[in-house]
Symmetry: C2
Subunit: 343 residues, 2 copies
Amino acid sequence: METVTIKDIARKCKVGVSTVSRAINNHPDINPETKKKIMDTIAECNYIPNNSARNLKRNESKTIAVMIKGIANPFFHGIVKVLESSIEKKKYGFHLQHVEEEGDEVKAALELEKEKKLCGIIFLGGALGHSEETIRQLRTPFVMCTTSLNEEIPKELYSSVKINDVQEAYRMVSYLCSLGHKKIAMVAAREDDQAVGKMRLQGYRNALADYGIPFNRDLILYPVKGEDPYSMKNGYDTVRKFIECGGQATAFFVISDNAAFGACKALWDMGKKIPDDYSVAGFDGIDMAKYYCPSLTTIKQPFEEMGKEAIDILFDLIEESGENRHKIFEAELVEGQSVRALV
Amino acid sequence: METVTIKDIARKCKVGVSTVSRAINNHPDINPETKKKIMDTIAECNYIPNNSARNLKRNESKTIAVMIKGIANPFFHGIVKVLESSIEKKKYGFHLQHVEEEGDEVKAALELEKEKKLCGIIFLGGALGHSEETIRQLRTPFVMCTTSLNEEIPKELYSSVKINDVQEAYRMVSYLCSLGHKKIAMVAAREDDQAVGKMRLQGYRNALADYGIPFNRDLILYPVKGEDPYSMKNGYDTVRKFIECGGQATAFFVISDNAAFGACKALWDMGKKIPDDYSVAGFDGIDMAKYYCPSLTTIKQPFEEMGKEAIDILFDLIEESGENRHKIFEAELVEGQSVRALV
DNA sequence: TTGTACGCGTTATCAC
DNA sequence: GTGATAACGCGTACAA
């Protein structure tokens, strides 16, 4: 059984290939009867058009790719859902492209752009450390969602949608301070982090400074080498080690909700009560924060609005050839049961 | 700036296109000097080969696709990791294809098969309710991982790797019975479920029967229409409603870990203690089960071994043209802190 | 309304 | 070692 192509269908129906093509692609100028006959034989022969051939021929396909780095990141799931439905509502094709942890998402996008003749791209995660030259190779408009490019990249080259991580970390830490916490440990990203990890640490420092609390290097809990800082495991390991080594703190500000769950578990395993003995605050506002026991006090990123805005910007870029925009969203401090006021 | 193609490179280097092709694809018969020159201009011009054209020409590309249905399912993340690394270790290409919730994963696979000239497919989730005719259209060997096809589909048409859901549900429920629980409610899948939901319910019934406990329809908690039975929200809503309506039970057997977290939260919100007031047992054994407070008693699927086995079978099929196999794995009952013995 | 012929960018098969 | 050239399967001018 050979692969059945458009020619086979044409031969079987005794028509030309272009007529078959017209039938497939819902072109207007075609006799309804011939169309029906063609569609019937297509179904009968289980003919499936070859996408490679189609893409090769096409100059522009109305499809948008979402490059997602780190499929396991629960924070992305909500956004992907929003993106997917928005894109489909606009009658565009949707292609979710997974990029492996150490993969180069821009390179992957470059390939995909040529392969699928994309008309727009949304990046979810990753995307730092690319040269301007590489970025300039992208021919289609693109939006960085929840991430950002290096500072040196000219802002007019791309769009972005995110929160102000410095400010939101500040919001949480100053909240903790306002409740009377003075010894606040932070489960941080890698020491050489240049992305959100760095910014959230900065927000932490700013808040302490504003409350007149001296910065203490010993309260910054860095991951062991090779460990994903945002993982539950890292939250568990660092907090456990900190306590076991006699670290003193009344609250933990954790770089992500996931890591915060790890932190909670570590405390729980050591017989500590949350929030009685220690307060724990997360960052991101994923679903699980609500469902955890105790529910997690966290910074909730408005991912629904962020996803919608990313799409809006992208469509402006595509259809109205608008300008690149950079939108900063305000996050929300959600009070759970994992933080208490110090008497 | 036009798209740069292989012809442009050839022209710039004053060689034929085939020589450029040889350089790109590491063919042996090529002068190292010309190769270097070509590679240099490729880098200089930022030339990226068009994958559509490549796939169109190729007859077989050593790439394996993983069709994943439900990107948010945390249970899949672990398996994907295993699959990815195993496939790359074998020097095969890896393509993760996301299939939307209501999408037809077999149809998507059929398209991808033609487009990318796949040599193997692994299905993660979904895959029920397909006709034998559709299945037969798949030309490449494939393995159903953690799911299964309808009973009517001849076993020699495909391979599968999974657990025995009836038996594992039985394992958990009889464990609960052995601890003295007699009123065990089950957070179940849809009433018309024909997949794992049905089987886990069967295991539940079998266990009760063996312990001489009559089956009580009122203890089966079905999701409201349209709700994902395996979601945290469903676990929360159904258990909350059950308790509020005066439902009597000492333990909950929940269809998935995720739903179990929802169940725990509902109980917690109503001032109940776990496991003091109610025992809760999950199913799957995702990471979070360990990190939840209390840690969740659950059936842990050996997803690492399952992923490895799926790949092994697939490679046998591809390279040794072996026979289709169906492997059933034994799961493990992991005792957490969410279940207690009744006095 | 329909059919023919060309080209999309690549790789493989030949000659040279 | 290298360069033409014929496919791969499809869409689309263009002609009919």
